[in-house]
């Protein structure tokens, strides 16, 4: 870029965009304030961090089991077989015990993104009670990391969550 363009670029950088109106900031404040406070969140709130237990579902357990199996198979194949013609004394020497299989991958992050929320209308529950059915669609992402070599596995899975929210009617 030539010098005059550079000079113009610097001149433009000195200009500050007009300040955001206070009315607009207040509007956003009101909208965000309408959000439910954390303790009042419903029980079905899903996991967004490792502090919550919900990310540890059957799928996670299944994947962890598969990883443990792969690790075990790897360790077994690494053991040297004792040659068949080895002297009896040598064969009798006990081989050092294999180190206990440690989990290679550790979960390091879990997150979910809500990308669609739809009220699917009224449904009837047992006993003629009314409820509303709400469908929330998420993308869940779980990350495991191997601290030995920094390899990581990221697993992204779509998930639909249907919430049935009881609707009560109080004529008073």
């Amino acid at each position: 870029m030539d010098e005059s363009l550079q000079e113009l670029e610097n001149e433009l950088k000195k200009l500050q965009p007009r300040r955001a109106p206070a009315r607009w900031l207040n509007q956003i404040n009101r909208e965000l304030a309408a959000e439910l406070p954390a303790p009042a969140r419903p029980r079905y709130a899903t996991a967004t961090n490792l502090g919550s237990w919900k990310w540890l579902g059957w799928r996670t357990v299944g994947l962890a089991a598969a990883l443990a199996l792969v690790a075990t198979v790897g360790l077994v194949s690494l053991r040297r077989p004792v040659p068949a013609d080895a002297p009896a004394g040598l064969a009798a020497v006990p081989t050092p015990a294999a180190p206990a299989a440690e989990p290679l991958y550790e979960p390091v992050a879990a997150s979910n993104v809500l990308y669609d929320l739809k009220d699917e209308g009224e449904v009837k529950l047992a006993g003629d009670a009314s409820a509303r059915q709400v469908r929330a669609r998420y993308v869940d992402t779980y990350t495991w990391k191997n601290p030995r070599n920094n390899a990581s596995i990221k697993w992204t899975v779509p998930r639909d969550e249907i919430r049935v929210v009881p609707a009560s009617y109080n004529p008073n």
């Binding site: 870029m1 005059s4 965009p17 007009r18 955001a20 900031l25 509007q27 956003i28 965000l32 961090n49």
Partner: protein, 171 residues
């Protein structure tokens, strides 16, 4: 940008970055009021559902703002030219930039007019690069164009502005 991840500080973050985001949204909307609407929509969505995502929140927000602006434009495509004119259209009542003490107001106005005359595809790249401080890669991702195209649009925009503007008088 980590500040946005802290519940109490979004106001400070938005007070600092809001003007840049509004200027950016203004490139894709027909009025300042529309720009305010789309930035609000994108920011509230980001704060509620995406603030835990890794990465630069500003780049994520700008992408979100652009999508919201495109949706907004689609929803309001039937607005008549008369309504648009009454609303201010592309002619803004207030200027684009904040007046600074001791500055040359004529020069600022001259730059604002010259910016308005730029082709929209060049102006959006210029705004994202100069005032939102995105890299050409990030601009490319936001606008769904190659980074090289973003870089050349930026150079064309600067060259067109230089042609339009007299060199600034210093001292």
């Amino acid at each position: 940008m980590e500040a946005t991840h802290d519940n109490g500080t979004w106001k400070d973050w938005l007070a600092a970055h809001g003007p840049k985001l509004l200027l950016c949204a203004r490139q894709w909307t027909r009025s300042l009021a529309d720009a305010e609407d789309v930035v609000q929509e994108a920011f509230v969505r980001y704060w509620r559902h995406q603030r835990h995502l890794p990465g630069d929140p500003q780049a994520l927000l700008i992408t979100s703002i652009r999508r919201a602006a495109l949706d907004h434009a689609r929803r309001h495509a039937r607005r008549t030219a008369r309504e648009e004119k009454a609303d201010g259209g592309l002619e803004e009542r207030d200027g684009t930039f904040e007046p600074q003490p001791g500055e040359d107001a004529d020069r600022r106005n001259e730059i604002e007019v010259a910016l308005q005359r730029l082709p929209a595809v060049q102006r959006e790249v210029l705004v994202l690069k100069i005032w939102n401080e995105l890299t050409f890669e990030q601009i490319g991702e936001t606008l769904e164009i190659p980074a090289n195209t973003a870089a050349s649009r930026y150079r064309y925009a600067l060259a067109a502005l230089r042609k339009e503007l007299k060199p600034a008088c210093h001292g």
